[in-house]
Symmetry: C2
Subunit: 248 residues, 2 copies
């Protein structure tokens, strides 16, 4: 597969940012040639294209769920797996094994955090509506804001503190890597879903806040964020704003 | 780092199998030279050795939580990250990129499943006792048994069905890989935690059941399982048997 001429095909539910957005941010920031298949008309793709892979009628690895990426003959599912595949090809992670392992480690920690963020509004079952689990969501969100939000964001801040001491301004290595884009996305999502909670914890996260701002100002990324390709946050995705779940 | 002479140091909470067990199974099955640091006396390791890494006073990448592995100068956290690092060194995954990507994809899907298994008994907060979230746990477990258990196990069965059609008896490639060991561990854990639910879904999973049995009969693994190094399942780990949460 000639790496520089691959057109990547991203498969993710249209209409939400969701976990697919972590992949989109990398593809957009690195100006990669890609197509967002499920957002095409059905004649060219659409949701039926996703379903064919989930039903196992397409060759390649079987995905349980989107996002997944098609790169030549490869079918690659699981967000962190997609990112660790793409990053070296797009120059979005340092070359050393130690750096790649640390990048994957931080990305998987962000993935754990994202799962917990999702479960604030769906603590009982992903198959039930929020309205069917509101008391449990209120209880889980309170615990999340008190304990989990500061724990995970504090971890990212501590990584940045150690790196700053070593004259590094990013989470891994000397330049913006895919992990920084993911950290940006989590901060943006939390600012939408839990603005009060994030405002309270913000002063304890000066390096993470500065990193978010630097990512937002990257030329390609800011152009993407202002484009119609960036789906707005909404009440169907990972990050949802239910005012009754947010508190300081 | 001379790969064949490395003594791996595993750091995980003593007293539970937890997520560390996925790493132990691989190290044991491949007869790797390793030490389970936190199970040593404090003079040689113990829990204080874990805490030094979590506090950031040791060099290398900063882990948020165990398990993590020290291999020479590398500090590697996150279960799937540790496994994808170790597997090529221990001959526990095929060499091709496609196979390694699929192995990591399946391992990450198992990790998602494990998170959901954990949350059946802790749906509100990991920092609260089970007794403080029993009604929510009952509700989440019912949904888990009806929907999520058959979905995840059915996915593994479907992968095996596709492989069987291609004359492969394992989840990835022609031989037992680390992913098969992880699938075994999930089946064993579910048999402890949810025996009624697993018994009901079992007949729909003939290939996965046969794979579990084949893994259990591997000589090094069966010797490990019968040894005092295998911590019994108990009510402090990922897989917990609360009879009131189990049903057919």
């Amino acid at each position: 597969m000639p790496e520089n001429s691959t057109r990547y095909e991203l498969f993710y539910w249209p209409g939400i940012q969701g976990r697919g957005e972590f992949v989109r941010l990398l593809l957009e920031d690195r100006d990669a040639d890609y197509v967002d298949v499920a957002r095409l008309p059905e004649a060219e793709g659409g949701v039926p294209a996703i379903m064919r892979f989930l039903k196992g009628t397409e060759p390649g690895a079987l995905p349980l769920a989107p996002p997944f990426l098609k790169a030549g003959d490869l079918v690659i599912a699981q967000t962190a797996n997609i990112l660790s595949f793409l990053a070296p090809r797009l120059g979005a992670v340092p070359a050393s094994e130690a750096a790649r392992l640390e990048a994957n480690q931080i990305q998987l920690t962000i993935a754990d955090f994202v799962d917990e963020i999702h479960d604030t509004h769906h603590p009982i079952a992903v198959g039930l509506y929020y309205d069917d689990q509101k008391p449990e969501a209120a209880r889980r969100s309170q615990q999340f804001i008190e304990n989990r939000l500061p724990k995970f964001l504090g971890f990212l801040e501590r990584v940045l503190e150690r790196n700053t001491a070593a004259q590094q301004a990013w989470l891994v290595g000397q330049d913006c890597s895919y992990v920084d884009l993911s950290a940006f996305q989590v901060m943006e999502g939390l600012g939408y879903a839990f603005p009060k909670a994030l405002k309270k914890v913000g002063p304890t996260l000066p390096l993470l806040g500065a990193l978010r701002d630097r990512v937002a100002q990257r030329p390609r990324l800011s152009a993407y964020l202002a484009s119609p390709r960036r789906i707005p946050f909404n009440q169907h995705g990972l990050f949802r704003h239910y005012p009754e779940l947010d508190s300081e």
